[in-house]
Amino acid sequence: MDKTEPEKETLSDSTEEKQKQATESKEKSFRTPPKVDRKPWHGLWALTNRDLRKWYTNPIQLVVSLIQPIVWLGLFGKALNFGSFIAGSGSQLSIAQQNAILTSFFGTPSYFSFLACGMLAFIVLFTSAFSGMSVVFDRRFGFMNKALSTPVARGSIVMGKILQSVGRSLVQAAIILVIAVLLGMEITHFSIQGVAGTFVVIFLMGIGLSALFTMLALRSADWQTQMAIINLINLPLLFASNALFPTKIMPPWLQDVVKVNPVSYANDATRQLLLGATGMNSLWVDFAVLIGFAVILSTVGIILSWKLLSK
């Protein structure tokens, strides 16, 4: 108590002094300090935009990041034409019967459409993975220390990384969706609610996954380790999900893994929303899981940022 009072005095003294100086010689002194924003999320947009700007001012990055899923769509989606497997097998099935078989596996007669939904998850997964990378580079190049020496909330630093990655995911997913439609994705079941719901799914999955990768990078300044971690987590998350193949044709142990993989819930939801497919869960369950995933991981990320960002 004793200590705080003289502090206030000296504070007001120095501002008065500054004002005096300012009136005495305008050029030579700083202006009076402004009233600063003390909201816990101040600076969040500045940090998010800083990373987003690197991406939207550099179109090469955007194009390169889109090439991979497009190649997958083209090669995988078109080459693995399961419809022609059945048609070419010499069986005497009618088109309707063939479609019924395909639908029983993929929830839709078109594997390409099935895969297109998986590619939306793919682009989110790979974009999110690099949100951790940007933490590592900020540490390497010293920007992290600059941010940490300001009163910006530690949580904002983490949330900035998460949101910039979600922003990228949303834009890239939109482009992939358009390209998929141009390449022949089934659009008979498209609806405004369905497309909007799909982007909500992408948003939630993006938050959860970026939070995961960001928190793994919080303490690291070593990009090689980070790359190893990304590969270690990314491919299993992709293959142990229903992104490329339906759960039905997987061995039972893998099916169990798929059921705890949040990526599967995102795919399940987008396929129901865009293709009218019959999913493994109801949409409510999918959304509940995704919301839980996003909320829990981002909360853990923020809590860890208090502990791990500074030592």
């Binding site: 924003d37 101040h42 600076g43 190049f141 920007f143 020496s149 009163p151 910006v152 300044a221």
Partner: protein, 342 residues
């Protein structure tokens, strides 16, 4: 006189450090240092690489959590009121921290955003700061096109965006060419004299500490060995050295010279007198006058002021420059500390 001024300024120490320590694994980077900084002074931490200077700054700017000890910065506790400390101090780190892909101006504005300063204020203020560090022409160029000196100046501008009362400068002229170094010295003097700012700077350049700092703490192996003004540090190792050469043949007048009040010690070697004296500028004319009255002819006079280098040698037992010879040990220590810090 000096006691009097000390009492006056002691009323407002802006930094109070008590037994601050930081241990990285087995390495005691900072080992129980204590000091105070008065408002309005430039306080220098002088020491070789790896002495614990940056670690000290990082603790005071809340980037590192001290292992033990305590400190008040701008009246706020570095543990309990970390955010208030951050709000009130400016930091100019040793490494370049600006975002390379952004322009100089946008970097400053980003810093302002992180401090929560509204754009209505940070826009005009950033112009002023760019002018102060003479970067207004490069303000809208990407930082990746900047030279080392320009980057250093940009860091300085970023460190000033939040109207700090206290500015931390970590090795502000490390690796800069002479011209930029002089410019940075000029800005530092401006900040002190015209903006009444308090500065804490680290350096391992003696001439820098000598010309800029009001008080210096010599720090080595995490300990503060000596604190004082550059003058005090220099004087504490004995006075100036005057060397006088007289025309041969000459009788020994050493005892006469040592009668002069300011003279502390006289040694004669051949026709040269080596005299230790306080206030060499005043003592030397008195001595030459004396020699002339004895009927001798002075052929040469030289006056050497003690350097901080000698003071440093006296206190640490080795020269700052010698220290750098042992590069491998130094390198290892620096790598450990870098890793630990980053």
């Amino acid at each position: 006189m000096s006691a009097n001024t000390k009492e006056k300024t002691a009323a407002s120490p802006i930094v109070e450090v008590e037994k601050l320590s930081k241990i990285f694994g087995t390495l005691k980077a900072v080992d129980g240092i204590s000091f105070e900084i008065q408002e309005g002074e430039i306080f220098g931490l002088l020491g070789p690489n790896g002495a614990g200077k940056t670690t000290t700054i990082n603790m005071l700017t809340t980037l590192l959590r001290p292992t033990s000890g305590n400190a008040q910065v701008c009246g706020y506790n570095i543990f309990k009121q970390a955010n208030e400390v951050r709000r009130n101090v400016g930091v100019v780190p040793q490494e370049y921290t600006a975002d390379e892909d952004m322009t100089g101006k946008n970097n400053i504005l980003l810093c302002a955003d992180l401090y929560g300063i509204p754009r209505s204020d940070s826009k005009p203020h950033s112009e002023e700061l760019l002018k102060l560090v003479e970067l207004q022409d490069a303000a809208n160029k990407k930082v990746s096109t900047y030279s080392g000196g320009m980057r250093r100046r940009l860091e300085l501008a970023c460190g000033l965006i939040n109207y700090p009362k206290l500015l931390f400068l970590d090795e502000p002229t490390l690796g800069l060419d002479v011209q930029t170094r002089t410019a940075v010295w000029k800005y530092i003097k401006t900040l002190k004299e015209e903006y009444r700012m308090t500065l804490l700077m680290t350096t391992h350049y003696l001439e820098e500490a000598d010309s800029l700092c009001d008080r210096i703490a010599i720090i080595d192996h995490g300990h503060i060995i000596k604190i004082g003004s550059p003058e005090e540090l220099k004087n504490s190792i004995g006075g100036d050295v005057i060397v006088i050469e007289v025309k041969e043949p000459s009788p020994d007048i050493s005892s006469d010279i040592s009668q002069i009040k300011l003279v502390k010690d006289v040694k004669k070697n051949m026709n040269t007198y080596r005299i230790k004296a306080e206030l060499g500028e005043e003592a030397s004319p008195q001595i030459t006058d004396l020699i002339r009255t004895k009927g001798l002819h002075v052929t040469r006079v030289s006056l050497t002021k003690p350097t901080l280098d000698e003071a440093y040698l006296e206190f640490t037992g080795r020269s700052l420059r010698e220290e750098e010879v042992d590069k491998l040990t130094m390198f290892r220590q620096r790598v450990t500390m870098r890793r630990a810090r980053s």
